[in-house]
Amino acid sequence: MTSSTHNISMTLNGEKTNALVEAHTLLIDFLRDAQNLRGVKRSCDMQICGACTVLVGDHPVSSCTMLAVDADGADVVTIEGLGDRDNLDPVQEAFLEFGALQCGFCTPGMILATKALLFSNPTPSRAEIEHHLSGNICRCTGYQKIIEAVESLAQT
């Protein structure tokens, strides 16, 4: 297997990060394996489940179908960059308060997709929430409490 390698530099969870990656390396593999950011979850590998969602700029992106080299120069945020145990992001806080997660495997992607929604639309309607989160599958919760959590954020 031959492949060219590239130097990339990005702002990753607020920190300047330089790395050498192969041209075909997916962003998800770069984040999970090279950067040890395992909060990025791998599920469908085909951009339909949203578990691997990260923020690139203010946009939600499926890291399973984006090349790491294409994130060169970008501002990338994973769930690890959002907030920690002692200083949770309001979205993380809302998911906890409303019990909007069960197994938790979709949760990092769901939270980051919600974050992106609120960047672009701080007061989304239920229809807008549904539209925006339609690319994030949750097989556990039945979505009811996710909607309640996101609506609680829209109220503030």
Binding site: R85, G99, Q102, C103, Y143
Partner: protein, 757 residues
């Protein structure tokens, strides 16, 4: 519906916080030193003899460590394994029986190398005739998938499968009471209908993932397994290793729903690690998980007789289940389907036969309420069809036949412990509260979960007052850790935040049968309650020598022991009792069928009951259906974690919605044509009912801690028939095959139109 204030999730918070920060470690996140990576070559044909399997070129690829094939099986202590029948080889040996069956496992330094090596493996097949439906599998000239049926008794489930020699039938299970034929002679009405329920995918977001590592004779396996002790036992048999030398560790699991119950890819990965001589990790893709297991599809014919008042006199049922290429837990699914097709009704004469058969498709396995959604789909659809034909209101027909609390569905089973009539009333009320009047469709269910009361736990009270609970109940998202923490906190009168729930680990933690069948809240709940009581007794005994008082004068308080106004931290109790500022107290317990104070010899330990009520809206131009209102009612005894319990019901209902409207694993010419995440549709956020409500009934009458019953499966049961009944009520069309696709609805609407003109 928007809530005014968030629910109190204080205890649950401790279990969920790692999941919102990305800190939770799942099976697929496990990495160990010197680990190599495995990828699986899978059969592309449904049924064939392997005539040539050449891995020479692939083995020569730089970075390939080893390649496991059927040739390596000869050195195993036991080549074929199973839970009911030893029918599955660790890897295909001479034959493949379904598209997706593992035929070779490449172990390489990187996943990329392993993947590249797959393309270099040469394989030739001699094709055999195949069957990809259960009906074809029982035809007289059907190819027989397994030459021998090696049924094992009481191995993991109680009882034994009853296969039929020389056929594809691997289980026959009958229920017979009274005399159905005689009853039909007296009947005013007899109805016969056939309903089908397709095989469907678990679609847990985390695919199956296993890391296996040998260290000398000791084997450690990290797996997202719901039944660590079953994995341990099967590995012991297959590899000839003592149970004590096999350690199964289960981190967080990204969804199970039964798809990670019993044993799945663990023997395969362990065989690869043994051959490689170093740790091996195999994480499937989600598409591969869809080729690993699925719910059994079913064809069910009901023959129900009634007197002229609408009292059911008899029910005959035949259930034909598509079990796939290997039996797995299919025999239990058949037995449960036979129970669950009766419904919570008073029927004196029953004649039920369930058969599960091998087909050249993905192996069937446990899935949330085994056999339940299939059986309830048939029974509750037919109740409405009968009501319609007899001109009786569907709820009234049910009321005329419902068993009261304490009634017996079968005299071999525990009497019903819920009031289904009351539950229907509450569903009515709740759906009225959502606006727009009464429900258009309802369905009810009673199922018998909570199997195998066999599970132990340790509760260790450490010197600083922190507490570790050791239990092999697996957190698959159902919130078992929160329940256990609440139970221990209450029993020991300690702050829930001082309690840690350790990961399941068979080397340190007592046996538990497994996580499934809604059993953990009751069985493991009681185990940790008993273990906490044991710890409490020991601590109070220690303290009584310290305080110079009888244990009865002492009580546990947060952080220590109190005697009147005196308070002594655990640390001081231990220090004075042991002579050093150290040590701990270990409470232990094992719940068994003969547990003191429990009546666990009769099955089920409790009934899981459900009522679903809904309304639907159909776009008649294109046949799409949306559920506009949905109410689910469950009798849970006591909700130890109310938000979690509600979430279980909501999640189950939406899985039921997927089964009702979208899901079907499709086969064309033996090929699974939609077994990929992109082609297989599960519910998305916009698919759920815009107005929904869950009612939890809490009478404190369950056998578990604080009067809890198990729960989490019931909510899936009534959804599909409630929707189909609403569709019939609102639009005059009756569909007996799931899923209720736009095409089926559109065709039925067209046919209705044609019939009318």
């Amino acid at each position: 519906m928007r809530k005014e204030s968030p629910p109190d999730n204080n205890t649950a918070r401790a279990d969920l916080i790692d999941k919102v920060t990305g800190g939770a470690v799942y099976a697929s996140d496990i990495r160990v030193p010197r680990m190599a990576h495995g990828r699986i070559l899978r059969s592309a044909v449904p049924h064939a003899r392997i005539t040539r399997l050449d891995v020479t070129e692939a083995s020569a690829l730089d970075g390939v460590v080893t390649i496991l094939t059927g040739e390596d099986m000869a050195t195993l202590a036991q080549i074929h394994w199973g839970l009911f029948l030893n029918d599955r080889p660790v890897i295909a040996i001479d034959k493949v029986r379904y598209v997706g069956e593992p035929v070779a496992l490449v172990v390489a330094e990187t996943l990329e190398i392993a993947e590249a090596a797959l393309d270099l493996i040469d394989i030739d097949y001699e094709h055999l005739p195949f069957v990809d439906t259960a009906a074809a599998a029982i035809a007289p000239d059907a190819p027989v998938l397994h030459d021998v049926h090696d049924a094992i008794a009481d191995f993991y489930f109680t009882g034994q499968a009853k296969p039929v020699a020389g056929t594809n039938i691997f289980q026959k299970f009958g229920v017979s009471t009274g005399d159905a034929t005689a009853a039909e002679c007296d009947a005013a009405h007899i109805f016969e209908h056939t309903y089908t329920f397709p095989g469907v995918s678990h679609f847990a977001l985390e695919p199956h993932s296993v890391v296996a590592a040998f260290e000398g004779d000791d084997l450690t396996v990290w797996s997202g397994a719901q039944s660590p002790t079953a994995v341990q036992k099967v590995l012991s048999r297959v590899f000839g290793i003592a149970v004590a030398n096999i350690r199964i560790i289960v981190p967080f699991v990204g969804g199970g729903f039964g798809g990670k119950a019993s044993v799945k890819i663990e023997p395969l990965v362990v065989a690869a690690a043994r051959k490689a001589g170093r740790p091996v990790r195999v994480t499937l893709t989600l598409a591969e998980s869809m080729l690993t297991c699925r719910r059994l599809g079913a064809t069910m014919t009901l023959h129900t007789s009634l007197d002229k008042t609408g009292k059911i006199l008899s029910k005959r049922a035949t259930i034909l289940l598509d079990g796939g290429a290997y039996a797995d837990t299919g025999p239990a699914v058949a037995a449960k389907a036979a129970h669950r097709i009766i419904g919570p009704y008073d029927i004196a004469n029953l004649e039920i036969e369930a058969k599960a058969v091998y087909t050249n498709t993905v192996p069937g396995a446990a899935f949330r309420s085994i056999g339940g959604p299939q059986a309830v789909w048939a029974t509750e659809s037919q109740m409405d069809e009968i009501a319609d034909a007899m001109g009786i209101d569907p709820v009234e027909l049910r009321r005329r036949n419902l068993l009261p609390r304490g009634g017996e569905i079968l005299d071999t089973l525990r009497p019903l412990d819920a009031d289904i009539g009351d539950m229907i009333g509450r569903a009515d009320q709740a759906i009225m509260n959502l606006g727009d009047g009464a429900a258009a469709g309802i369905a009810v269910a009673a199922t018998d979960p909570g199997i195998l009361p066999l599970g132990g736990a340790l509760v260790r009270v450490l010197v600083d007052g922190s507490i570790i609970v050791m239990s092999n109940s697996v957190d698959i998202g159902q919130g078992v850790r929160t329940v256990l923490r609440e139970v221990v906190a209450k029993m020991l009168n300690q702050n829930p935040n001082s309690i840690q729930i350790a990961n399941p680990d068979t080397s340190t933690t007592p046996f538990d049968w497994g996580t499934g069948a809604s059993r953990s809240t009751v069985i493991m709940g009681l185990a940790v309650e008993d273990a906490a009581r044991d710890a409490s007794d020991q601590i109070l005994a220690l303290a009584s020598s310290v305080f110079d008082g009888a244990p009865n004068d002492l009580r546990l308080v947060p952080g220590g022991v109190a005697h009147g106004d005196e308070f002594l931290p655990f640390q001081d109790v231990y220090h004075r009792a042991f002579g050093v500022d150290s040590g701990e107290v270990v409470g232990r317990a094992m719940v068994t069928p003969t547990r003191d104070g429990s009546d666990f010899k009769k099955s089920p330990l409790f009934w899981e009951t459900a009522v679903g009520a809904c309304d639907v809206d159909v776009d008649q131009e294109i046949g799409t259906l949306s559920v506009t209102r949905y109410v689910g009612v469950a009798d849970v005894g006591h909700a130890i974690n109310p938000s979690g319990a509600e979430g279980q019901e909501e999640g189950a209902a939406v899985q039921g919605l997927g089964h009702a409207l979208f899901e079907r694993l499709d086969y064309v010419d033996g090929q699974p044509v939609n077994a990929t995440p992109i082609a297989y549709r599960v519910p998305a956020i916009g698919d759920i009912a815009k107005r929904a409500h869950t009612v939890l009934i809490e009478n404190g009458d369950g056998p578990g801690p604080m009067g809890a019953k198990g729960m989490g499966e019931g909510g899936i049961l009534p959804v599909a028939p409630a929707i189909a009944n609403a569709l019939a009520r609102r639009y005059g069309i009756r569909i007996r095959d799931l899923p209720l696709t736009p095409e089926r609805i559109w065709r039925a609407l067209r046919k209705r139109g044609d019939d009318a003109t």
